[in-house]
């Protein structure tokens, strides 16, 4: 079943059309990977799934994006609620310059949770969920910025989990990380998909083939091909896909 469906979507930055007639179904409890060369519109699409591009001046969207059959761009849709449901992790780890605890508790507090016990429990659960509890449980007061890049990225994942989203968007979550941290995150993601629907942008073909269930290949703002990851990598239907995957460009 599709958690998100994108229908006939066109996106413009002022006059520049960054996405052309995109149609895509994002299945529940699976990992969907977006691949494609730089500038092809992967980030643009993933950002429109939680309306982060509302923040960009001059960005206009046509078409529909349905979350559980509901149009997230319809007029009185509360974007704060949307973003609570659709969490996001960015390319550069971006923890807030505050303690680990406050980082994780920020989201829940935003949504009105004040009770210390509930918060404590949520923080622990989220950190466990992001596979970093053991490393930081004795240092929750420590400033999150003092952690290593890989740890910071897991803190960001934990922070996203803490608002109990249904979907996790990840825009090249490992591109700033070393191989060992990358491996940890990949492992984590495959565990998380049991409870969350995951969309992940990656530059790394190997990563896409290692972790994702479904892959969409982008080129110049269009989706060239989508399908089961295994199929896309072993038996691409389009010439461009094959060229890209085999490293002939990009």
């Amino acid at each position: 079943m599709s958690k998100l469906s994108i229908k006939n979507m066109n996106l413009f930055y002022d006059d520049f059309q960054a996405l052309h007639n995109v149609n895509l179904e994002i299945p529940k409890n699976q990992i969907t990977a977006f691949i494609g060369p730089s500038g092809c519109g992967k980030s643009t699409l993933i950002k429109s799934l939680n309306r982060m591009n509302d923040l960009i001046e001059g960005c206009k969207i046509k078409g529909d994006i349905l979350l559980d059959e509901e149009d997230i761009y319809k007029k009185d849709f509360d974007v704060n609620v949307l973003r609570k449901k659709v969490g996001m992790v960015f390319q550069q780890p971006n923890p807030f310059p505050m303690s680990i605890y406050d980082n994780i508790a920020y989201g829940p507090r935003t949504h009105g949770i004040k009770d210390k016990k509930t918060l404590d429990a949520l923080v622990e659960k989220s950190l466990r969920g992001a596979a970093i509890w053991e490393e930081v449980k004795n240092d929750l007061k420590k400033n999150a910025l003092s952690l290593s890049g890989g740890q910071q990225q897991r803190i960001c994942i934990a922070r996203a989990l803490a608002v109990e989203p249904e979907i996790l968007l990840m825009d090249e979550p490992t591109s700033a990380l070393d191989p060992i941290s990358t491996a940890k995150i990949e492992e984590l993601v495959t565990v998380l998909k049991e409870n969350y629907t995951i969309v992940m942008v990656t530059h790394n073909m190997q990563q896409a083939s290692r972790v994702s269930d479904k892959t969409a290949f982008f080129l110049n703002g269009k989706i060239v091909e989508t399908g089961e990851t295994r199929k896309i990598f072993t038996n691409p239907q389009q010439k461009e896909t094959e060229d890209y995957i085999s490293g002939r460009f990009g």
């Binding site: 609570k84 310059p97 920020y106 922070r159």
Partner: protein, 271 residues
Amino acid sequence: MASKLMRGLIYTAAALTFGSLFYIVLFILIKGIPFLTPEMFAWKYTTDNVSLMPSLITTLIVVGMTLLIATPIGVFTGFYLVEYAKKGNKAVGLIRIATDTLAAVPSIVYGLFGMLFFVTFLNFQYSVLAGVLTSTIMVLPLIIRSTEEALLSVNDSLREASFALGAGKLRTIFKVILPVAMPGILSGVILASGRVVGETAALLYTLGSSTNLPSGLFSSGRTLALHMYVLSSEGMHVNESYATGVVLILFVLIINGLSTFLSNRLTKGTK
């Protein structure tokens, strides 16, 4: 060769700059310290002791009140300009021009304006209120600018992270951005207090120069800089006015030290 010459020029310029600063400070200290007697700190001013205590306290009052009014207005203006205003917004252009112009207005013009508007037109008379409001307008651009800069220097990724968690703008500003921007804003505020402490021309025509401690918003007073000016102008207390100069310099040193200390402490957390 050209490199050596260039380096020579640069070092000379630096030596001139810091040499003159050192000379100025040393000069005032040497001239003033011998006259820094305990009577100068008597609670009440008399013509015998020419105490600077009332002016010291008035300075604190005027600076404190000015910051109390100017800081929120300035910081909020910064919020509006950086976090809310859309690019190319007409109001923003207008506000920018207004702040730029305010920043360039000479203090003597502020003084005349304060006299014509607050003292005479609004009939506040020579008073703490007139002085404070005049200096508020005077320091506003300092605070606005430093706030703007501080906010702009906050990484957008923090804003994104907060919005992505479903936080609204207000929460993002106060909980995430403000703490990071604090040192920058604070340094602007400190700069502003320095400006008020050192101001003479603008306060001369608004605050007046009473030697008493102000008894209310509508009573007159004098700040340290004014005290120094008035003391010297009749030629009877030139030494005491150097002594006041020493206190003034110490004041400024403490303010500066405090700002460095605070911003160091605050930045430590975020680095």
